[in-house]
Symmetry: C2
Subunit: 484 residues, 2 copies
């Protein structure tokens, strides 16, 4: 945040070595520190959490405009509430952390750390819901959830504690909850879009939907290691949860009726990981201006005897940018030379660098250097703010367009299992015709290093041949990929 913390200049790791690059960037750019002494629990450090806070604010703004009230539910759920939703328990019961003692005492009933909050929230919804006039009930909360993952953990991608926002809503009719599903999907997409992230919106196959959902929508984004990264999900729960929790209301005719419900969640760790992994380059992070904690770094280039000139001009430009609402930082730390500073702020992914030497001071100009392309532009001081905004837009559009092109280059079609196998080995996202039989899906998973993730939710795609597995009539176009 202050950003001025010194750090030694180290050899850069090429992004091609993604795994090593990623681990290095997390530490060097102060995103997260995985050395916390409990496996699967990560510390979000200053720069990373500052970016995360901006992503959170984007999402919360969208949800509150949608009428979701911000709430905060307890992290602990009593065992008896948790066991009420049988379907749900199947989903999570093997994966929860149990609190059994407090102080010196054994608790009379065990508490668990929420793996998701339905079983905490529905009993309260039940208290709040009397009549159709109370509907819809729409809430959201940003919180951590806890799952005792047995798969390999990886900071931000998969941990035992993960930071997300979850929305839960109750409605008067199935049509209304359908509308909510669409509204939530749109809010989620708008966040990803503003981060310049490309993704596909899939309806998960039935065997892979959220336990207790009618259907689940998921946003899958590509990852440099060839897996896909699920950055959000939206679930139509229909009457299922309402029935399990006896969530009823008096309708306009005075009859008791079941509500319908939805829920949705966006993982901030994974969304942040995608932002890092998609846009970053060999020099470190490349942040979209909207979420960069510092958008412009001003670096005075000092020549002996002329320090005063450049320094006071740099301060002037700093005030000018700050007054215009631009998040600027002036790095005038005398202990480091400009090269060290370039290294550092490039690692942090600050969108624009403003270099100010004695010549710029004399001519009342400034050199702007784009983080994404390293392109330099010499601008007049009088046009600085306008030019900065223009370059922010240009950087955003460049990141977004490159990202979209990358996704498109990864998606290929396979018409038989051999093709599919070859593409999966090259870590592509593969479109196949599928008969819809879960057995074919399981066979695919057995035979190739990926699995069916679902069918497009946002547009209809027509199958163009027989099922890639059994050659029966293709009913769906399914997406197959490696997953986290």
């Amino acid at each position: 945040m202050t950003g001025k913390t010194p750090s030694e200049r180290k050899e850069l790791i090429p992004k091609e070595s993604f795994s090593e690059w990623y681990d290095n960037v997390l530490l060097e750019a102060k995103i997260a520190d995985d050395r916390y002494p409990v496996k699967g629990f990560t510390v979000y450090t200053g720069w990373g959490f500052s970016v995360a806070k901006r992503i959170i604010a984007m999402l919360e703004g969208g949800l509150e405009a949608n009428g979701n009230e911000p709430m905060q539910f307890p992290v602990v759920i009593p065992e008896d509430s948790f066991q009420k939703e049988e379907d749900h328990i199947e989903g999570f019961s093997g994966e929860v952390f149990w609190i059994t003692h407090a102080g010196e005492n054994e608790l009379e009933r065990r508490l668990l750390l929420r793996p998701t909050s339905e079983t905490a929230i529905y009993p309260m919804f039940k208290l709040w819901l009397r009549s159709h006039q109370d509907l819809p009930i729409k809430m959201h909360q940003t919180c951590n959830v806890y799952r005792y993952e047995t798969k390999a953990t990886r900071p931000l991608y998969r941990g035992r504690e993960f930071l997300w926002n979850e929305g839960h809503t109750a409605h008067v009719s199935y049509e209304d909850s359908e509308e909510e599903v669409k509204a939530a999907a749109k809010i989620y997409q708008s966040v990803y879009d503003r981060l310049g992230l490309s993704y596909i919106t899939l309806k998960r196959p039935d065997f892979d939907k959220f336990a207790g959902a009618d259907y689940s929508i998921a946003f899958d984004t590509w990852n440099p290691d060839g897996k896909v990264n699920q950055i959000g999900t939206v679930h139509q729960l229909g009457y299922n949860f309402a029935k399990a929790f006896e969530l009823t209301y008096e309708d306009a005719n005075g009859e008791q009726a079941y509500a319908t419900t939805t829920c949705y969640g966006m993982g901030f760790g994974r969304t942040l990981a995608a932002t890092i992994a998609h846009h970053g380059d060999d020099h470190g992070l490349v942040l979209p201006p909207a979420v960069a904690p510092r958008q412009v770094v001003i670096i005075p280039i000092l020549f002996k005897g002329k320090e005063e000139q450049a320094t006071s001009y740099a301060e002037e430009l700093y005030s000018k940018l700050t007054d215009a609402g631009i998040r600027a930082v002036l790095d005038d730390d005398p202990r480091f030379n400009p090269g060290d500073k370039y290294y550092r702020w490039e690692m942090y992914g600050v969108p624009l660098r403003l270099e100010v030497g004695p010549r710029e001071a004399r001519d009342r100009k400034a050199t702007l250097v784009r983080r994404d392309t390293f392109e330099k532009t010499l601008v007049l001081e009088s046009e600085l703010v306008e030019k900065v905004h223009e370059l922010f837009d240009a950087i955003f559009m460049n990141l977004r367009d490159k990202d979209q092109a990358k996704l498109e280059s990864l998606i290929v079609d396979a018409y038989d299992m051999n093709q599919l196998r070859v593409y999966m080995e090259s870590r592509m996202i593969v479109r196949v015709n599928w008969c819809g039989d879960p057995d074919c899906a399981f066979n695919i998973k057995d035979q190739v290093s990926g699995e069916i993730r679902g069918t497009r939710w946002d547009e209809e795609e027509k199958p163009t041949g027989g099922c890639v597995m059994c050659d029966d009539e293709g009913k769906y176009v399914a997406y197959v990929s490696r997953t986290y």
Copy 2:
């Protein structure tokens, strides 16, 4: 948030019956719901959490301007790290929740839910700190902490899960950490000041300081029930924690030296409770405009046949206020009459009500009603925004001044134990001369229904006589009060 949720109009409870009034306001104004099925764990509901979010943003803004980087540490601490700081354990070991199992497995080492985060944070600070150039390290985090309270819990005042912000800093010298203590105190005071809360800033007596601190500063505010409510603390930890956690760095001469550290915490539940309890009245909440989720509610007064006129004018005023950055809500719900709406929005404490009938529409005027005084002002539409801002300032100043006067009226001087006893029975905050001997403090606690909370930190007060307990020379002016 949407605020338009219907609710029946109920009989108001006078604030004089504080306990009942408070419980009722929490539910009616959607602040918090204490019916969650685990004792000491409360749900923050929509309106209350919206206010809390604004208080959080105020504090975080101040801290980040002070150079504290936002971070997020795991909620779990391994038992061995926790036991490293012996002093610290004395403070909390009897009060922690233990996680012993995950899924079907017993954990190899137990984890506890943080009661405060020193034992999570210091091992990471140790990894980050190499040289004097790395100092200061300053972080903050907004999170929940967990204490197995055996005292009676009360929503927002005392729970087993409580939402706070904690700051932790490490410095190159004791002087620097002294400066940090002052800076943190100033940031905290600025938040309370903007909420219009009166408080006293005390240095806690040694026997009541944070375990492991050199000294502790606390902000105590009055409460209608005669207890004081501690809404924040700032601790000078000196070398104590650095030594316990071996937090050393290489100084400018190449020698290893211990850092000094500080920590501070603001409880948002208690700060929100103070805001409710101080400013509220018989009609419900009265919110300072700075933290009101909705600052102006527009209520069209409809007359048969003239609905269109008032409604479209109300919409116009709504746009005008919203465009000016004022958080307005238009309550045009046809199911309720204006009286029901007044009741509801008064309960929510919305600072200004704007009444718009056909006459106002015709004359292009509007009637503004202050929530704090119910004073009405008829204003021209052209002056509306300006007038709203003026009234916001007037409301804030009125709340603040009344609050300050209330605190002053509660503080009295006692020169002997009889006087002290009588004042404590009347639930005052009592100033006494004190010799400084802890035994006298313990005797006072035994003999009256309150205890010594400390001496003024922000100004020096000179004793004017012998110790109220033992009559030996008075060395301090101490504050005695009932506490939560």
